[in-house]
Symmetry: D2
Subunit: 355 residues, 4 copies
């Protein structure tokens, strides 16, 4: 953006993308194609990666010195697509240099880091957004609109399976690698925070990172959420079930089309307090199934425009630092539960922090 006397002269945001490994190139492409942004810098420590991409983006500077990039007064925002353990430090630097920040998921290694970044961004009135890409996916947004319209009735459960063979990560376990997708979808769709998390898992090599894991989230007595993530499944499954008292949704991300199916199926149970009558008041419904059309725009494109919109129009992002924090809290609790073998309370933690 180019300012003159407090007025935006050119409404094109200058962006630096840090990290061009697996996901970075997708971010670069979408920021480059948006009319609201331009990729002024790409930063990476590995020269080969920079060289490989530089031919495709002749107007972009491919550099390795992040500090120097932050000195550019015309730079508006920093997009961080590096390994998780570097997120906190890089985001903090960017915020301190008064740059808006979009950071990969999971946001940080722990909730304290997240909270510090949130406070910093708030103090400096900067946009801090987390790249929970699926929230910007047309299929997920279509489910959200069904839930918000009350079509599902009371939502009873959220069940997610994201399993495949590979790609085993070295620095984090399968929960930190795969579950942020589903935790952020649940956070967006349901809008409830768990009271406790139980996790279990197994690893091929003793005392190493889990390659197969299960998360069970409690939310009081009326809703549960469960997650199965695996790098060691012979078949690939990416399926979410959301069950309500009125309708139920299946979201199968591996379908080429019709990824969302809304079933007018349910059970009507009326409890009268009388055991005998209870029995007779169960009724099943099985009506139409609808696979609604939904926006097919690439999720990352929607997300990039939303980030620009938040910066330009001082809006709060859908996947704010707070949503990043909520997901990291669940991941943190999952890891604690894996170590202890016990459910990890998220309520106690909140209470302790309040003192």
């Amino acid at each position: 953006m180019v300012w003159f006397d407090g007025v935006v002269l050119v409404a094109e945001l200058n962006v630096a993308v840090v990290g061009c490994g697996y996901w970075g190139p997708n971010l670069i492409r979408n920021f480059a194609e948006s009319k609201l942004t331009r990729v002024k810098y790409v930063v990476d420590l590995i020269p080969e990666r920079l060289a490989k991409l530089s031919r495709r983006y002749p107007g972009t500077q491919f550099v390795s010195d992040f500090d120097k990039v932050l000195e550019d007064r015309e730079l508006d925002a920093v997009v961080i697509a590096t390994p998780v353990h570097t997120h906190y430090q890089l985001a903090k630097q960017a915020l301190l240099a008064d740059k808006h920040v979009l950071v990969e998921k999971p946001m940080c290694l722990n909730s304290l880091e997240c909270e510090e970044l949130i406070a910093l961004a708030a103090a400096r009135k900067l946009v801090l957004m987390v790249d929970h890409t699926f929230v910007y996916n047309g299929a997920v947004r279509r489910i959200k609109s069904a839930i918000d319209a009350g079509a599902l009735g009371d939502v009873l459960y959220f069940d997610s399976v994201r399993i495949n063979l590979g790609l085993i990560q070295n620095d984090v376990n399968v929960i930190w690698d795969l579950a942020p997708h589903d935790l952020s979808i649940m956070d967006y769709l349901i809008g409830l925070e768990p009271t406790s998390v139980h996790a279990s898992g197994v690893s091929l090599v003793a005392n190493k990172q889990e390659e197969v894991a299960y998360l069970s989230l409690q939310f009081g007595s009326k809703f549960i959420a469960n997650f199965h993530v695996s790098w060691l499944s012979p078949v690939k499954i990416r399926r979410i079930l959301v069950g309500g008292t009125q309708k139920m949704v299946v979201y199968d991300d591996l379908e080429a089309t019709e990824k969302v199916k809304i079933y007018d199926k349910g059970v009507d149970v009326s409890a009268t307090g009388d055991e005998d009558r209870y029995k007779t008041l169960v009724e099943y419904r099985a009506g139409d199934m609808l696979a609604p059309a939904y926006d097919l725009t690439e999720a990352l494109k929607v997300e990039v425009e939303h980030f620009a919109d938040c910066i330009l129009n001082k809006k709060s992002p859908l996947t704010s630092g707070e949503s990043g924090l909520r997901v990291v809290k669940m991941l943190e609790a999952a890891n604690a539960s894996l170590r202890s073998g016990q459910p990890e309370s998220l309520v106690k933690k909140a209470e302790v922090l309040l003192r």
Copy 2:
């Protein structure tokens, strides 16, 4: 069986089937069709049920008085297909009357009842068998033979999903209704006993039986088993994954054919204790997938002939009272975990009982 002077004159076992509701007629049909058995009595308290079946089996007596049936010296065995809470009492009566017993799953309401029946049968040298039907299913036995032959390598996980819309039971929760199938399959295939069980679930009506539930079983550090059971799913799934270090199996019971698929897929990870080299020693394999032919005989037919064989030849049944006890212990622990919100140790319990 007709005896004379300690010698079997007619090797056809006389059987009484108690309970002809949902499952009973299947047992009656298979016992009637076997050359080794004949259904001498069908016992039920509801006259309409008896009347409905009696025309089909003119050689069978349809009665309501179980005590009187037990007085028949020629009766060899009693098959119990009544609601769970009656299993213990009926099986005990039958054993005390010197009848062999085949009892529906789950075996009893708690492990103490199971243990008493096991002791009683042992003392009287009677066959006590539990109707874990899936253990006699050709597809499951084919998987067992692959595991026993070492084809899977070390087995790492067992994952089961058995979900559908309905039929909600009134007397037990969804775990006690559906999980015995999968727990008995796991018990048969893997042969390990869990050290602890964590369960979570949700019910449509507060403080009622859970209609959706998850079980997470721990077995030490090298193997885990997880179970998802539901009466409230918009889609029907009955799928088991068994993952080994060499091969992995998918058992999809809803496929019309090729229910078992054995994938020559895996990950070879060599740990050297050195973090950096660890990273480089991950290798993926993706070879052939084989859907082997398997015995298509009705599982219940195999089971009925096995029961007769155990009685006639004084063999120990594959799904003995002990296997019934192991499954009930897991169910018991699951219920305890549902109530406490904590994992329920099965090791401690064993130790307490040993004192």
Copy 3:
């Protein structure tokens, strides 16, 4: 039915079912369960078949003498479920004895036989109905209502695949065995008669009945129908596609639920006569997909009640002798095409017959 002075005293139709091989027992069960009919006789030449069924229906007479059955003045209708080559003779006898007739598909061995039976029934004011069971199937009727409501726009094509391994018939080829299902569904849904039929096929044994075959039906320039039938497929498929200018339908009979899917998909092509503009006027639509709920009543039950209703209320059956004739004409033409290798015109035939 019992009449007194021209008035029906007892509105229960007396039915004789002839043939109790593969399909007969289903007819017997449905006629026995209907409140409008009772199975007074079951006729078969094989004593074992009669014996096997007789215990289940104590009120029915199981006999082998069809002539004698026809002498029964109280008998209202005859249901013929015997091999195809006997249909004509048995139906003719029944009609001459003033009995209403329901006959298995295909109706007869050739169209002349069909026409004779139609004329005979008309002359004696008797109901002559063909057992095109799928026409009474809830899924098929749901598609019919969508077509009749104009939801599909102009219907362009009907594509059917009905393939499996076995059961190879000895007396007819795979077209006569399997295609009547799909031809009768098309006849019911589309209501058009083909102008010509091309068929091709292959047989395992030279000069024997075809086990794999394809039918291609022409209807002028705006609609085509194609059929693939096979006893030699490694996979089982039973799927019909109906494509319209507005919507398109997939009917997958092997789905446990949601057998019918209506896609709001299409192509809008406007032709202006100008080649260059033609190119630019193609537009694709991809909206919602709806899997509508439909009546789950057993098709044969609906059919049996419709047959009784036609007799009692002097209605014309949905699957009349004329529909049976239309299907047999297509089968006849298919066989002629198989022999000649040329398309067989149905228009010429009609013209010849008109002279």
Copy 4:
């Protein structure tokens, strides 16, 4: 290639790719990445297309003048990815300029053009290859090896379905657009030439190109092949069945993995000439199903290296001009049959040509 005194100094073939619309960029990428070739020129008449690609290939000349390109003595081969009606003229020019040629499918607009190109290439000892990409696909080659090893027994039928919504072509009908894939797969796998072709189809707009079509190929009495191609299907299917007397293959190109399944299924029929015994000699087999691993290399990469190998080592290509001619003959016959409504003989044609 750089020659000096009849000796190859640099074994890198210089290639010109003509046409960079839909498929051209894939060819360019593969020729650019191969160590045996380099893309010296890309030729297209539309400047925007050239501009779009030119940044990615800085070592390549993007030009519009094909004649001038052909004057380059160092150019070894021309790759033609332009609309079908230009293939013949461009290929002829290239051959006359002594360049080896790889041409898109379908090879030409008619068989006479194909034959002329074949004769021309033969006379000048140049490689003339047709881009029947699927022949170089690992899944298809795996099926070929099963057939060649005799695993299927006698092959009885080839059934192909390639249907989807769009993309409607303006210059050719759906047969010319989609069927060359399947015809070339059949030609490669089975190695038989049809004696006649029957085609039928329908078009949205009267007298326009067919959007839905069926091909039925005859080969004498022991084998048939059928093809269903459509631009107007609500669902996408790409599936080939190959049925043999011993085993049967399903090739589902839309599966992410396990695209090839080999079923040990079949029917053993022994004909004795005696009608009655014939009946009793039908036996069904249903053994294992194997989904074999296959080479996952991109087909076009394999093809590009094969083209280079043929040029460098004077080999005859797998998808030679002759295979292109065979496919065009079938397409030609299909169009003739569409117009006449009669099967088009390919035998008569051959005989006529022989005179």
